[in-house]
């Protein structure tokens, strides 16, 4: 769930969401993104670092330039309720079984 938290935090910021949205169109370097948004280059780099930390984008170096692209699997932690509840019910039903042992008939 920690990874899920990181994804939520990364996308909670409107500027970061816009950058992520832009990257869904295709790979881009920091300077391309700076040109498209009214944000300074250091700010864009900081947003990208947060997105990368959350596993939402990955980077690729080419010479002096760093290109960023969307990491589709990064969204998975956001949506994996099914896996969460599979584990949850098994654990809780074990507790139910123990409780039934302790209850009077």
């Amino acid at each position: 769930m920690q990874q899920q938290d990181a994804v939520f935090r990364a996308l909670a910021d409107p500027s970061r969401r816009s950058i992520f949205e832009q990257l869904t169109l295709g790979e881009a370097a920091v300077k391309d993104l700076t040109a498209r948004f009214d944000i300074s280059q250091p700010a864009v780099s900081q947003h990208l670092e947060k997105l990368r930390g959350a596993g939402l984008v990955s980077e690729r170096r080419e010479g002096r330039l760093v290109y960023y692209r969307v990491e589709p699997r990064g969204l998975r932690p956001l949506v994996d309720w099914l896996a969460h509840y599979q584990a949850f019910w098994l654990e809780r039903l074990d507790k139910l079984r123990t409780l039934l042992e302790e209850m009077e008939e």
Binding site: Q4, D5, F8, L11, E21, V70, L96, L99
Partner: protein, 144 residues
């Protein structure tokens, strides 16, 4: 509800009579001891909540409504919650069948949207539909 959803099914054989299992499923104190703190009442249409410790952006609250009640055979309630960006709209069904040695208890937690669809529901809030489509295509390409 869409048919394109996923269901968790768990089946248990318990050495206890259905009436006793029913009590553990419907008496708030007993239910709270193994599941979560709640204000459940065995009344059709009753709205109640389960409360757990908040986790990340999840407020720890599950909102429910009794949809079916057939003591001591069947209990169904809606199960809604999730975080601000990732909502959950599901239902939980308990079926109790008497056996010679006790009870066959079946839990069916249904209505989970397939992961991808869910991502898009979450993402498209406040985003344009085009982004959702592009992400959908990307995820399909990367489906493991």
């Amino acid at each position: 509800m869409s048919t394109n959803t996923e269901t968790i099914v768990v089946e248990y054989t318990l050495p206890h009579a259905p009436r006793k299992v029913w009590r553990a499923l419907t008496e708030p104190a007993l239910l709270g001891a193994w599941l979560m703190q709640n204000d459940f009442e065995p009344k059709l249409g009753h709205e109640f909540t389960f409360r757990a410790k908040p986790m990340g952006e999840w407020d720890g609250i599950v909102r429910c409504k009794v949809l079916e009640l057939d003591e001591p055979r069947k209990l169904v309630y809606s199960w809604r919650g999730g975080s601000g960006n990732s909502t959950l709209d599901t239902r939980v069904a308990w079926t109790l069948e008497a056996t010679s040695s006790g009870t066959r208890l079946t839990l069916e937690h249904s209505g989970f949207l397939p992961m991808n669809a869910m991502a898009f529901q979450a993402m498209s809030k406040g985003w344009s539909g085009n982004v959702a489509e592009r992400m959908s295509a990307l995820l399909d390409d990367h489906a493991s």
